[in-house]
């Protein structure tokens, strides 16, 4: 099978400073891939090279068998980081989603009937059909993420690229987004996303690429998420806890024993969640054994 994405000894960066060096990588059609790495490791830059926004200084990038040169290849849907969106821009949900068909819906400013019908289907699939006329600022984090996902889907992509889709959202929303992406992937669309959420990646994604200016490792999370690989990727001490199928990644805080000693006299306060009660009870903190590891 021909790869969907192919990096061949690619080096790129900004202002003569290399961000990614000698990247050789292949992603196959229909894959669901997570790019993990610390800030500045080149995750977003890797996505930008796929869209022709960053030109390789050496080597090449191919998408769908065509070399990427200065412009985005057809049939890529891109969902940017929500932090980069201008939330005060006067634009409604449907106006944003219709941007996905800017170049393929005729010369008139308004969408044709077919585009409008497709948009309605996608919005309903993503559960935001009732929000079409709302301003984008008036939505929750998860709904905002879905709006930009809907825009990408309306462009009928074969490859979906998402930059940090799980940042700044709560745990439930994060899980919903990842399940939604898994459903989209099952429909045959390849998905590549960047994230810092190692535990979510371990739970939801079948394939992971660890990146830090170069590809440190790639494979299934339960194979490559090891103390050694993650410590090399994040340049920090990392711990991997495995219990059966469960995989938990944690960083080891510096001077934990000192911190624990200084807080030894304090007690945790856990409010009783039952309605109408105002009582709380305390729980004894056990600083000496914070983690239970099974390697």
């Amino acid at each position: 099978m021909e790869p969907l994405i192919s990096f061949n000894h690619m080096t790129c960066g900004y202002d003569d400073q290399a961000v990614l060096e000698d990247i050789t990588l292949q992603i196959m059609p229909g894959q669901f891939v997570g790019l993990v790495g610390p800030s500045g490791s080149g995750k977003t830059t890797l996505l930008r090279t796929l869209m022709g926004m960053v030109t390789p200084a050496a080597g090449s990038v191919e998408v769908l068998g065509q070399r990427v040169q200065g412009r985005a290849p057809a049939r890529i849907g891109y969902v940017p980081q929500l932090e980069t969106v201008d939330w005060n821009f006067p634009v409604t949900v449907e106006e944003v989603v219709l941007m996905g068909r800017t170049m393929r819906s005729g010369i008139w400013p308004w969408p044709n009937r077919e585009t409008r019908a497709q948009m309605a289907t996608i919005l309903d699939q993503l559960g935001i059909g009732a929000l079409a006329k709302r301003h984008i600022r008036m939505l929750s984090g998860g709904q905002q993420q879905r709006v930009f996902l809907a825009r990408a889907l309306l462009s009928d992509p074969k490859l979906l690229l998402l930059d940090e889709p799980t940042s700044n959202v709560d745990i439930r929303t994060r899980d919903e987004i990842l399940h939604l992406l898994a459903d989209i992937n099952r429909d045959g669309i390849a998905v590549v996303l960047t994230t810092h959420e190692l535990n979510s990646v371990a739970t939801h994604l079948p394939w992971v690429i660890c990146l830090n200016r170069a590809v440190i490792a790639q494979g299934r999370p339960n194979h490559i998420f090891t103390t050694e690989v993650l410590s090399r990727t994040f340049n920090a001490e990392m711990m991997v806890i495995k219990q059966g199928d469960l995989l938990l990644v944690a960083d080891r805080p510096h001077g934990f024993a000192d911190l624990a000693a200084s807080n030894a006299g304090l007690e945790d306060i856990i409010a009783d969640a039952r309605p109408g009660t105002r009582k709380s009870h305390t729980q004894t903190h056990l600083p000496s054994e914070p983690y239970h590891t099974h390697q």
Partner: protein, 294 residues
Amino acid sequence: MIDLVRPWHYAFFVHGIIAATLVGGLCGLIGAYVVLRHMSYIGHGLSHAIFGGAVVSYLLQWNFYIGAGLYGFLAALLINATARKRQIGADAAIGVITTASFAFGVALISRVRHFTTNFEAALFGNILGVTTTDLWVIAGVSALTVIALFFSYKQMLFTTFDPEVAPTYGVPTQKMETLFALILASALIASMQVMGVTLIAAALVIPAVIGRLLTDRFSKLLLLTTTIGALCGLTGMYTSFYIDVASGATIVLTAAAVFAVVITITLVQQRRHGLKAGLGKQAVLVQSNDSHLF
């Protein structure tokens, strides 16, 4: 009682009010894009740059519209290109290029002291001196701008909303930037005779800000800013006739008064809404506390 028909007996007023309405609408329409691109002062800056171009075209004995138009277009492209440099930014790019261009015009005037043309009209506007040719230029530029923005609506919206991502969806953002620079320069040159270099920024910015307070929808914003701009031009021109105050200044003050009214109403509405929401929350809390009591 005020005789509203009387001004229409004067040809200068008829020319002036048509020009003021068209320029108001034109600047209102373009102003929406300018404000959303966070380049509110490009109108102010670019009109200063065009002043330099007007002086150069006079010295070279070129037609004002061609010479100043070309100069303004190049200045707008230069601002766009400089603004893309991350270290500089749009505001600083406008500051450097346009003031340098204005200074160039002033330097030429001080060096060549045998000017027969008075550049005061370009600086402060001369709406009562609008000729039939000026009217045709304003009408032509307005029509072409509406046509260009109508057929590039979707591309221009995406480019304005997210210039980084738009190319990944196939939008030719460079072409859109060039087209917008051309539209902006043409509109400013057409408007300079009416509003003058010093007041043009207000005609661009105020209707857009009023429109933004009234709607959250882009397509509606464009209609609103065009209408508000045109109405402020019309009302301002009429008012200036009766109170005997400079027309350009009256138009700007009319727009500012509309802004003051709209922002006051908006703030009052928001406060009431907030109060209602707060009361609603309190009611829910009382209700939930009550339910525990019983």
